[in-house]
Amino acid sequence: MRQTSNMEKPSEKSVFSMFLMGFWKRNPVFVLMVGFCPLVAITVTTANSICIALVVSFVLVSSGITLSLLRKVIPEEIKMAVLMLVASVFTTIAALFIRAGFPQLSTALGIYLPLVVMNCIILDRISGYTRNDSVLFSLLDSIGSSAGFSLVLVFTGFLREITGTGKLAEIQLFDKPVNVIALYPGGFLTVGVLLALINWFVLEKGGKEQ
């Protein structure tokens, strides 16, 4: 797992390459292999996937900035407690907002909405922001990681909704969908196929470059 404190500072890297690091080179799902719980459980529909992606992005970016600002006043001994506190506060704010504004979506996401706080991506990324990363680095890294994770979530949700239910946004596209894709085993199968395709693409590209 990557340790952010070992990374170069923003001045030494372009803004785009820092964003790209979280988005692609260290993609939470395809490279770090974290965040599978919402990926498998929630990506049954595109709407659910977009919602959970927005919540994870909000929590990651807000926690990143807050912890980066607080890093000089948090002693090592209470660091973990503060990480959890900050992530919980932002997750609760997001959950309250969704429950108030979109009650049906909140019911559909169920326990996975408050569970965002325990998401490995959030714990992995924000633990780095309390070391010696600047606010700019934290912001760019969290935006990159959020964008990478969101892209995978939404794409998986889109694929599973079409193949598993035969619908897209409640519009019936075809009869006889592959029901198993909408269930948990289908989530693992879809992610497995996507991982295989990404690995194949990366190996192909690497082979051609050599």
Partner: protein, 182 residues
Amino acid sequence: MPKEISKILDNVFRLTLLCVISAFLLSLVNSYLEPKRIENEQNLRAMDYRQVLPGARNFEKKISGGKKYVKGYGQDKIPAGKIITVYGRDYNGYFEALFGISEDYRILGVKFMNKSESTNLEDNASKEDFFRQFIGTSVHDLVDVNNKNVKKIHGAPVSSKAYINAVRKAIGEAESIDATNQ
């Protein structure tokens, strides 16, 4: 004071301060969002009521003989029927369903309330499809679990039986509420 104790107290102070700030922030957000949440939930509930009792415009929560129900009224406050909530257990776990029942004990609409966080093979849409066969049915036609004329959900005999029992329970409750009121 020993250095260790002063460090512990310092950490406790910092953590307590952060907790207090967090609690204050959350209470502010909650006090702003809570009225909106209540309003949205009431609107959604009213939509569900209108869906299961199509002729009703106004709804009133009532209790009769220890049973809770919702009475629907149409134009000029003419009673349009009752909405009975039935709790049951199907193959996937517990469910909550709303049944709209007319004054002559015919089923006017059914709605499943518990939207699961995952999709099951028999989702709420297929359950509601299954219940459509009972719309317009009266208690006198109903409902023998083993009746061959009653279509079951394909591949879900346990759940089909549970839902048919829910229909019977809803109509039974509507009758018993009226009996108590008389």
